[in-house]
């Protein structure tokens, strides 16, 4: 009751001055909440899995093919990536706050900071495409993507990898940091018995040509 009693007058007085803005009853807005989060405040994986399954079925309702479905999952992740970039940077200690200026710095930020924040561990590997025709392609490798933990893909949709959602987050981070890229998720785990990582996923990051052009210019100094 005390909660309600203090809340009412605050809301009433602000309403007159604030022109239609409605404050929460306890007077606390998003600006009153701290940006830092303690290490222990993790979310339950079960509730995430439940939510994620709903996201997939929502995306699946209005699509014609697997590519379309992956595109939609990608789009769901994109805004998260844009926002995570600034959030994780401000959580860094002030001395080490730095904007990623080159591809390697950006990918390291994704591999270490983003993965640590989302999944509680780093990504397993970071590779550059060995094919000389595609110098714009980089690969982030996750042996066991957390988002796929409870996803069993039906045989007729074997092309699908629901980590397209995570690919969308990565794409959001790259776009936000002014390294426009296309990111796609591919399953590469073998199907035979005794395979160590059957759910192994490669996130293929393909940067736009202007990124490489700029990279070359900066490299020259």
């Amino acid at each position: 009751m005390a909660h309600l009693a203090t809340g009412k007058p605050v809301g009433g007085s602000k309403e007159q001055s604030g022109g239609g803005l409605r404050y929460p009853t306890n007077g606390k807005t998003i600006y009153h909440r701290p940006l830092n989060r303690s290490k222990t405040s993790e979310l339950s994986q079960a509730s995430f899995a439940y939510l994620f399954s709903e996201m997939i079925s929502y995306a699946q309702k209005r699509v014609t093919g697997i590519q379309d479905l992956e595109k939609r999952l990608n789009l769901q992740g994109h805004p998260i990536g844009l926002k995570l970039l600034d959030l994780l940077l401000i959580r860094e200690p002030a001395r080490t706050q730095a904007r990623p200026l080159n591809i390697i710095a950006l990918l390291h930020f994704i591999k270490i900071n983003i993965w640590q924040h989302l999944f509680g561990r780093q990504a397993d590997r970071l590779e550059k495409s060995s094919n000389p025709d595609t110098p714009d392609e980089y690969m982030i490798i996750d042996n066991e993507p957390l988002v796929n933990a409870y996803v069993s893909v039906p045989r007729e949709m074997s092309q699908l990898n629901c980590a397209a959602f995570v690919a969308g987050i990565i794409e959001g981070v790259c776009d936000g940091a002014a390294f426009p890229a296309r990111v796609t998720a591919h399953s590469v785990g073998g199907k035979e018995e005794g395979e160590m990582w059957p759910g192994k996923t490669v996130f293929l990051v393909k940067f736009q040509p202007e990124v490489l052009e700029r990279e070359a210019l900066i490299g020259k100094g």
Binding site: K83, L87, A177
Partner: protein
């Protein structure tokens, strides 16, 4: 000392603007831009965006310091990781054409000792940096709202009050 602060989105679109004066050295926090010069502030600020794009790839710091100068107007820039620009135009009163235009304003007499009197000094840079840091924190909080998309205008009066408070505290 008068300030004009603006947040510019990734498409060079303004998201937020705020005009204020110094609160240090007995300042009343009111901007003292002359009427003729006031509407130019937006032009001056936006014209420095070209320089921001040049400077941003030479330093990995968020705060890029004073990057541009137009007569008596100094522009400081802070760049977020998501490429949103925080630009602060500061115009010292006393000396220079702009102050002369301001006429016999009472503010010109007290400006000589304020931190703003020398816009490129280390003390000023530090004050602006602290101001920007505080605004950045509030900007990130604003973006945390699930209803906020990148490059949307920030209309929240709470955000405006927070920026005003940071201005009073540091500048």
């Amino acid at each position: 000392m008068s300030y004009y602060f603006a947040i510019i989105g990734t498409q060079d679109n303004p998201l937020f603007e705020y005009e204020f004066g110094t609160s240090k050295q007995g300042g009343d926090g009111q901007p003292r831009f002359s009427e003729q010069a006031r509407h130019l502030n937006q032009f001056i600020l936006h014209s420095s965006l070209d320089i921001v794009e040049e400077v941003q790839w030479t330093s990995n710091q968020l705060y890029l310091k004073a990057i541009d100068k137009f007569f008596n107007n100094y522009i400081s820039c802070f760049l977020t990781a998501g490429n949103t620009k925080f630009l602060l135009l500061h115009q010292p009163t006393g000396g220079g054409a702009a102050a002369a235009a301001a006429g016999g304003n009472s503010s010109s007499t007290r400006s000589s000792t304020s931190i703003g009197a020398n816009p490129t000094s280390a003390a000023t840079e530090e004050a602006v940096k602290n101001f920007m840091g505080e605004v950045y924190e509030n900007y990130v909080k604003a973006t945390m709202s699930p209803f906020y998309k990148v490059n949307m205008e920030i209309k929240s009066p709470v955000f405006r009050a927070r920026v005003a408070a940071a201005g009073r505290k540091y500048l």
